[in-house]
Symmetry: C3
C-alpha cells in the first residue's frame, strides 16, 4: 500500500471565497503514484469547507447568497460563540452545510470524477493563511 | 490490496426522487471479494446525492418538503445560475445539504451498517440518465 | 494492509447533546497500529451525526439554536414520519445538515487534524443506547 500527503495553503483576499483546486488535487494524485485508491481532501480549519460542485460563477454567487440566508453573519451578537471576541460563528455553520471533506475514487491513476464535478476549497472566514489536506492511499 | 469499481445508472421519472440502493451496494461488496476495507459511494452528478438514512416513505416526503423550504425551486429567476438557461440551481443546493457521498466500512465481507442505515441515491434534477460510483478498496 | 474496528457507545441524558470523542478516536488509531491510512468515524444511527468542529461551548449552543430553526422539533405533527408514533423526524433532518461521518487522515500513527479540529458525536434523539463506528485501514 502506498500513501501520500500534501497540504494546500490559501490566503483569500475576501472573507468568503471559493477556490477551484481540482488541478492541484489531480497533480497530487499523479505525484503519489497511486493507480487505484482513495483520495481524501479536507479543510484543516473549522470555518472552511472542501466540496464538489459546479465551476460556474453564477452558482457560486447563489451559494454565497443562500448560505447568508441560512446562517447570517450579522448581527454577530446573535451567536454566543462570538461573545469571546470572535465574529465568525456563522462561518462554523456555513461550513457544516457545505461539508468538511470529500473522498474521491482514484482509478487508473486519475481522479474518478463525473463530467461536471469540480473540487473547491470554500472559505468562510478568510484573509489569513489557512490550509487543506490531501491524503491518498492505494496501490 | 484489492480495488473494485462499479457504476450504478438511474433515470428517474420525476424531477426529485430517492432510490434505495443498499442491496446493489452490498452486491458490489460481495463481487469485490473485499473482506475488510472501505466502500465509497458518490453521486457523479452535482445535482444529486448519495446519503444514508431511513427507508421510510413518510420521512422521504418530509425531506422533499423540507428541502423545498430551505432551497426553493421557484421562482427560478432568483438564482443567477439559471440565467444560462438552466432551471436547476436549487438542485445544486439541495445536494449540498444531503451530501455527495457516503463512506461505509466493510467488515467480514459485508457492509458494516447500523440496524436502520439504508443507502439512497437522491435525485434533485432527474428525468435523464445519471449515475453513481461505487469504489471499494481493502483486502 | 491492516484494518481495525471499534464501536463507541453513548447514552445521553438529554435529547440533544454533543459528545467530544477525539481522544477515543486517537486511542483507536494507536490500538490499530496503523501509521499511514484513513480513519472513518460514523454514527450507526440515522438520528445522530459524527462531525468535526470547534470544542467551544458557546458554539455548541449556537448549533442547537440554529438547527432548531432550520428543522424544528415542534409541532411534531408537521412531519409525516411522525405519523407512525415517532417524534424524531426533525432529528433525521438535523443529522443531514451535520453529516453522518468524517474521514480523517492518519499520518505517522496520529490523527492528522488541523489545530482546532475536534471530533464530536452529535446526538439529536438520545436518552437511549446508541453507537458510532470507527474503522481504520492502512499500514
Amino acid at each position: 500500500m502506498k500513501s501520500f500527503r500534501k497540504e494546500l495553503w490559501f490566503e483569500t483576499k475576501t472573507r468568503r471565497e471559493f477556490v477551484h483546486i481540482t488541478d492541484q488535487v489531480q497533480r497530487a494524485v499523479h505525484d503519489s503514484g497511486v493507480r487505484e485508491g482513495l483520495c481524501l481532501v479536507n479543510a484543516m480549519h473549522i470555518t472552511a469547507s472542501v466540496f464538489i460542485n459546479d465551476n460556474e460563477r453564477g452558482l457560486h454567487g447563489d451559494y454565497e447568497h443562500w448560505l447568508e440566508k441560512l446562517a447570517p453573519h450579522a448581527p454577530t451578537e446573535q451567536y454566543r460563540h462570538n461573545d469571546s471576541g470572535e465574529d465568525n460563528a456563522d462561518a462554523h455553520m456555513k461550513r457544516q452545510i457545505m461539508g468538511r471533506e470529500v473522498v474521491v475514487a482514484i482509478t487508473e491513476g486519475e481522479l474518478d470524477l463525473g463530467p461536471w464535478e469540480s473540487i473547491f476549497y470554500g472559505e468562510f472566514d478568510g484573509r489569513r493563511r489557512k490550509r487543506a489536506l490531501i491524503k491518498i492511499i492505494g496501490e
